[in-house]
C-alpha cells in the first residue's frame, strides 16, 4: 500500500516546530518588533542570476488581462516597502519558494524567518541573531571571521588578490572538475561551499562577513581595511550548515535598478529568462528606505539543528515528494 499520504515528519517533530515558533514569536514580541504578513505572490521577482522563481499566471475575476506572478523567493521586497512606509522594525515567518533547490537540506517550498531593524548596523544585528539562536539552540561559542580571512586560513589564498587562473586551478584541484572557464565568482562560490563551509560552526555559531562586492545582492558596499570594495553583509553557520544571511540594506534606488539590470544581463548570458524587476520596490526606495539592516534565517534548518536531524523532510509535515 502506498504510504506517501503519511507525513514526512514524525508528529513529535511537528510539536517541536510549534514550540519553536512560539519561542520565536515571543522573542520578537519582547523586543517590540511588529509581526507582519506580506504577499507570497508578487508582480516582481528576484533577478538574482542564481535563483529561479516559480511562476504562475492569474486571470479572470474582472481582470482585463492575465498577470504573471512570481512566488516570492523571500519576502524582502514587500518588507522593504513596509519599512519605506514607516513600519519601524518588522519580522515575519514567510513561506518562500525556489525552483531547482531540493535536497536533504532544501525543500523548494520552505519557511523563511526574516526581520529588519532600522538604525541597526551589522554588528548589532549579528548580536541579535546570536540571541535568537541561543533561545532555540542554547548557548554556544561564537566566532567571527572575514570572508577573505577564511580563504587565507583554509586555502592559503586571498580571493580578492588571487588571479582568476589561480582560482580556477584551486577550484579544479579541490572540486575535481574542469573549472577552466568558470568566472571568479563561481570559483569562489565552489571553494567556499565545498572546502570552507563544511568546517564552519563546528565549535559554535560562526559569522562570516565582508563578502566580495560581486556578491552584494541587495547589500551596501563599503571599503575594508585593505581598501578593497566589499559587500556589507554576513552569513551565519552552525555545524557546517548555512543558517542566515544578513545585509546592511542598499537604499539607493539608482544603484538598485542598476543591479537589477546587471542581474538580468547575466541571466541572458546564462540562457535564463529575465525577471520582471520590482518597480514598486524601486518606487519605495525613491520614497525613502530608512537606514536599516535585515536578515533572513532558514527556519526549517534551525529546526533540523534543534532536532538533531540531517534530512529536512523530517521537520516538514509534507515534503515536496508528498505535497
Amino acid at each position: 500500500m502506498n504510504k506517501l499520504w503519511q507525513p514526512s515528519a514524525p508528529i513529535e517533530n511537528l510539536r517541536l516546530r510549534a514550540e519553536t515558533l512560539n519561542q520565536v514569536r515571543q522573542f520578537f514580541y519582547d523586543r517590540h518588533i511588529l509581526e507582519v504578513e506580506t504577499p507570497i505572490l508578487g508582480r516582481g521577482g528576484s533577478t538574482d542570476p542564481y535563483l529561479d522563481s516559480m511562476i504562475t499566471v492569474c486571470s479572470g475575476g474582472g481582470m482585463s488581462e492575465s498577470v504573471t506572478l512570481y512566488l516570492q523567493t523571500s519576502p524582502e521586497f514587500h518588507m522593504k516597502r513596509l519599512l519605506a512606509a514607516g513600519s519601524g522594525p518588522i519580522w515575519q515567518l514567510s513561506r518562500s519558494f525556489r525552483n531547482g533547490e531540493a535536497s536533504k537540506r532544501h525543500n523548494p517550498e520552505f519557511s523563511m524567518l526574516e526581520w529588519y531593524r532600522p538604525d541597526f548596523n551589522l554588528q548589532r544585528l549579528m548580536a541579535e541573531v546570536q540571541e535568537l539562536l541561543e533561545v532555540v539552540l542554547g548557548e554556544k561559542a561564537v566566532g567571527f571571521s572575514r570572508y577573505r580571512d577564511l580563504f587565507r586560513t583554509h586555502l592559503a589564498i586571498d580571493p580578492f588578490d588571487t588571479s582568476l587562473d589561480e582560482l580556477r586551478c584551486h577550484a579544479t584541484d579541490y572540486a575535481g572538475i574542469n573549472a577552466s572557464d568558470l568566472d571568479r565568482e563561481s570559483c569562489c562560490d565552489l571553494l567556499m561551499s565545498h572546502v570552507i563551509e563544511p568546517e564552519l560552526g563546528q565549535e559554535g555559531f560562526t559569522f562570516v562577513y565582508e563578502y566580495p562586492a560581486a556578491q552584494a545582492a541587495l547589500a551596501r558596499l563599503k571599503s575594508d581595511q585593505e581598501g578593497d570594495l566589499v559587500a556589507d553583509r554576513f552569513e551565519c553557520y552552525y555545524q557546517g550548515l548555512e543558517l542566515a544571511n544578513g545585509y546592511h540594506e542598499l537604499c539607493d534606488p539608482r544603484e538598485q535598478k542598476e543591479r537589477f539590470s546587471q542581474d538580468n544581463k547575466i541571466r541572458r548570458q546564462l540562457g535564463k529568462s529575465t525577471v520582471q524587476e520590482d518597480i514598486l520596490l524601486l518606487e519605495a526606495l525613491h520614497s525613502g528606505l530608512p537606514d536599516c539592516s535585515g536578515v533572513a534565517l532558514g527556519f526549517d534548518r534551525l529546526l533540523m539543528l534543534r532536532a538533531g536531524i540531517t534530512d529536512i523532510s523530517e521537520i516538514l509535515s509534507f515534503d515536496m515528494n508528498r505535497a
Binding site: 542564481y50 523571500s74 531540493a102 535536497s103 561551499s193 545582492a217
Partner: protein, 46 residues
C-alpha cells in the same frame, strides 16, 4: 559507498550542470538527485 568515490560522482554531476549552463542548454533541475549530496552552492537566504 566509499566517501571519496561518492564525492567524485557528486562532482561529476556538478560539472555536468555547469557545462550544461555554459552551453546555454535548456536545463531545469526540479529535484536534485541524492548524488548531489550536501555540497551545494551557497543557498543565500534572503
Amino acid at each position: 559507498m566509499d566517501k571519496i568515490l561518492t564525492k567524485t560522482i557528486t562532482w561529476s554531476f556538478v560539472g555536468y550542470i555547469l557545462q550544461a549552463v555554459r552551453k546555454k542548454e535548456v536545463y531545469q533541475v526540479v529535484i536534485r538527485p541524492e548524488s548531489i549530496g550536501e555540497n551545494e552552492k551557497s543557498f543565500n537566504f534572503k
